[in-house]
Every structure is written in structure tokens, then in C-alpha cells.
């Protein structure tokens, strides 16, 4: 069973609907018992870095998520859920992220329109990527964001996109997966990516 973490803000239904569509056993929940039993965890969402962390703390899921990620449970962070994996963010300097990955989340270049609210071509850089299996090497994905992470460990990067500058838009590191775009809103390519994550969870 995959738990899509419900931390009460934003529109979190669409990610879970995509898993339902794939046929994966998934639940939208913040229930600690269920999260502990989950074989896969998904942190979706939109919103600010600080506000999301506050919501995770409030729902009691912050420490639990860290514990499960460290225990090796496959984890997929989407958009703000991806950014939460890192230590800090330009967006909310007084908040700390989950910090399971090193690095800061940086504001996009002032040369471009912010947020990036559009489809963009993603350049997959690693042949061994799990998320981008069975996909065009430059799939189009839908983005809505003003910030993007700058991971300290460059080996974790699997894909970038160009938006005024090269932006890290997907990472994979052991059981940790993260994407800056919204696969649940990226049509068939996005569905394939989520299915690849489900296969990883089941496999």
C-alpha cells in the first residue's frame, strides 16, 4: 500500500487519483499507523516551504517521514514535497526541511517569469533512472514553481530542464525519489513515471 501524505493544505487529491488510475493500492492519509505500514510514501503538493513544514509538524508526519525514509521505504516527493527533502530554502529562511538530502532550495533566475507555470522538456541524464524507464529521453512535464533545489550530491541528479538556466528537476538516491514537476498533471508521460515508482514499491 502507498500512502499519499495528507497534510491538510493544497490540492492533494490529484496525486492520489493518479495512483488510483494506475491501479495502485493508495490512500490519502496522515494516520501514523498507516504511514508506518506503507510500502511506499508520496509527499505531493503545492505551497510554500515554510507553510508545508509547519503543516507536516502539525499533523505529526515530519519525524515519521524522516524515520521511514531512513528505514529505506521508497519515497517520492513531488514539487514542494521534493523541495522538503532538502535542508533549507530561499523561500522560507527560518524553516528547516526534512534534510534527508543536502542542499538548499534556490529561487529561480530573475531573468525568467516566476512562477514557471508551463510544460517544459525534461532532459534525462541517467540511463539507469528508475522513474524515467520506458519513456522518451526528453519528455514534456508540467511545472508550477518559483524555486528549485540545488543538491550538494550531484550524483543524485537524474534530470534537468532549462528555464532561463538549468534546473534540477529529478533526483534518485537509493530509496529517495523527487521530481520538481507534477507527474500527476503531465499526461501519459507523468502517468508512466508514477507507474515506474509503483513498480519500484511493489518490486
Amino acid at each position: 500500500m502507498i500512502c499519499v501524505i495528507d497534510y491538510g493544505i493544497g490540492n492533494l487529491r490529484s496525486a492520489q487519483k493518479a495512483f488510483e488510475y494506475i491501479g495502485a493500492n493508495s490512500l490519502l492519509t496522515s494516520d501514523a499507523t498507516l504511514i508506518k505500514q506503507a510500502r511506499g510514501l508520496v509527499l505531493p503538493g503545492v505551497g510554500s516551504f515554510g507553510r508545508t513544514m509547519d503543516a507536516l509538524i502539525k499533523t505529526g508526519t515530519c519525524d515519521l517521514l524522516k524515520e521511514r525514509i531512513e528505514a529505506g521505504v521508497p519515497f517520492l516527493g513531488i514539487c514542494i514535497g521534493f523541495q522538503m527533502l532538502f535542508e533549507t530554502s530561499d523561500e522560507s529562511p527560518s524553516s528547516r526541511g526534512l534534510g534527508v538530502l543536502g542542499g538548499n532550495v534556490e529561487v529561480l533566475s530573475p531573468k525568467v517569469k516566476r512562477p514557471q507555470m508551463q510544460w517544459n522538456r525534461v532532459e534525462v541524464e541517467r540511463d539507469d533512472s528508475i522513474l524515467f524507464r520506458n519513456m522518451d529521453p526528453s519528455p514534456w512535464m508540467y511545472f508550477v514553481h518559483s524555486y528549485a533545489p540545488s543538491p550538494t550530491d550531484l550524483r543524485s541528479i537524474v534530470a534537468r530542464c532549462n528555464y532561463g538556466e538549468d534546473i534540477v528537476c529529478a533526483i534518485e538516491q537509493e530509496n529517495i525519489f523527487g521530481v520538481q514537476f507534477h507527474p500527476e498533471k503531465s499526461g501519459p508521460a507523468g502517468i508512466t513515471l508514477l507507474r515506474n515508482f509503483v513498480d519500484k514499491v511493489s518490486g
Binding site: R13, Y163, E184, G187
Partner: protein, 261 residues
């Protein structure tokens, strides 16, 4: 790189699409979910549903449509029409809409923009602006100056508010995107009001969806090149099958405008 979004707009009345339905021979009689799926297959980048009746009795019908769209369609979609409170917005977003479009109520209660943006994020707050050309506006703008006035209630009621002033206020209050419709051009197929589009895209840093007046492929191109639009909304040309989304995209690509393809 910037890529332009192509957005078909579906007007929904009591759970049915009402614009151009009779011309869509291949599509069943205006079921919004089927039409949405048809446009998705054609390569639409996003969809907009406007509930044009928006009476409270039809609310449940709309919610049902939104839920059904969200179950099968995995591209972003916006729902507008009759959103008066944060609870209306919450219900639509919880049902699966990605964004809500505010129009009359944003003018009546501008704090609603901020309220929804604070709760769900700016990215899901679209402010729809219906603007009409005026030459003078109660002495606020001098003669011989083009300006645009905001209309509400489906274009039936003038507000006396200058469109450029309003769009800046929307941005300041936390809107994430502007859906700009030229009332002068809407339905005329004589092209977007490019001057209006240019002025609005220059006035704010928010993404702007140009709407109202598209008749030809070059109208769409001009919306981007001259108007500076980030996204192009059209209804008639798609509903009446005068062109397909693929045709629009090929044309734009041929003219060096990047689109998802």
C-alpha cells in the same frame, strides 16, 4: 525555455457543454468529460471549464463534472463561475480542480483572492478579467487615451474600474495567473485585442492567458509575439473544428514559438 500553453475553454451549463456542441459531430452531445478527453488526446496543455449558470442549484452537477474529469484526465484544469467564498473554492479544489477562476466576486470582495491564495497557494488562483475599451473613464483617464474598463456579471455590468489598475491589484493580492478576455473581440474572430494584451502583460509579471477574438492561426501567433501572452485560450475555433490543437501547435512551432509537442 518558454513554452506557450494552448487552452480550449468549455462553457458548462447544468453539466453540459453549451458552446458549439451541435457542430461537434464526432463528440457526444456536449458531455464535458468526453469533450475534455477529446481535447486532451489532441494535445491540449490545459483546460478551462466555465460554469456559465453557476446557480447554487447547479453546484452539485458541476462538482460531479469536476470529479469525473479528475478521474481520467491528467492535465491541469481550471474551474470558474460562481465562486463566492473560500468554501466554494475548497470544494472545487478538493473535487480535483487544479485552479479556480474568480471574476465578479474578486471585484466585489478582493480579499477573497488573498484568502484563497493563502490557503491553497497562489498557483491555483486565476483571476478572470473581462475588459472593454473606453476612451475616457470618469475623468480618471484623459481623452484620446485608450483604456479598458472591467466588467462583471458575465459582461453585463460595468464597474468603472480600470483594467490595468485592477490587474496590478490582483497581482498584489496574490493571484497566480490572469485570464484576460477582450469583450470587444469575444466571438468576433477578428483577433485578440493585442494592445490590451500587451498592456496587461507589461503591467504584471504573472502569467497571462489571452482570450477573446481568435479567428485564425495568425491571431494566435500575434497573441504571443505582439501581445506577449503566456497561454492562448480559444473556444469557437476548436469547438467548430475550424482547426485542431495539433494544427495550432504545428503552426506556432513553424514560427519559432515553443509548445509542448
Amino acid at each position: 525555455m518558454k513554452s506557450v500553453r494552448i487552452i480550449p475553454c468549455l462553457d458548462v451549463d447544468n453539466g453540459r457543454v453549451v458552446k458549439g456542441v451541435q457542430f461537434l459531430d464526432l463528440i457526444d452531445a456536449g458531455d464535458p468529460v468526453e469533450l475534455a478527453s477529446y481535447y486532451d488526446k489532441q494535445g491540449a496543455d490545459e483546460l478551462v471549464f466555465l460554469d456559465i449558470t453557476a446557480s447554487s442549484s447547479n453546484r452539485d452537477t458541476l462538482i460531479d463534472v469536476v470529479e469525473r474529469v479528475g478521474e481520467t484526465l491528467f492535465i491541469p484544469f481550471t474551474v470558474g463561475g460562481g465562486i463566492r467564498t473560500i468554501e466554494d473554492a475548497r470544494r472545487l479544489l478538493r473535487s480535483g480542480a487544479d485552479k479556480v477562476a474568480l471574476n465578479s466576486q474578486a471585484v466585489a470582495t478582493p480579499s477573497l483572492i488573498t484568502e484563497i491564495a493563502d490557503e491553497f497557494g497562489s498557483q491555483c488562483v486565476v483571476v478572470a478579467i473581462d475588459a472593454k475599451r473606453v476612451n475616457t473613464l470618469d475623468g480618471e483617464i484623459g481623452p484620446n487615451t485608450i483604456s479598458w474598463q472591467v466588467y462583471v456579471k458575465g459582461g453585463r455590468q460595468a464597474t468603472g474600474i480600470d483594467a490595468l489598475k485592477w490587474v496590478r491589484e490582483c497581482q498584489a493580492r496574490g493571484a497566480g495567473e490572469i485570464l484576460l478576455t477582450s469583450m470587444d473581440r469575444d466571438g468576433t474572430k477578428s483577433g485578440y485585442d493585442l494592445e490590451l494584451t500587451r498592456q496587461v502583460t507589461s503591467a504584471v509579471s504573472l502569467p497571462v492567458i489571452a482570450s477573446g477574438g481568435v479567428g485564425t492561426l495568425s491571431d494566435l501567433l500575434e497573441g504571443v509575439v505582439i501581445g506577449g501572452a503566456d497561454a492562448l485560450l480559444a473556444a469557437s475555433i476548436f469547438h467548430y473544428k475550424e482547426t485542431s490543437i495539433q494544427q495550432v501547435k504545428s503552426y506556432l512551432l513553424d514560427h519559432s514559438i515553443m509548445v509542448r509537442h
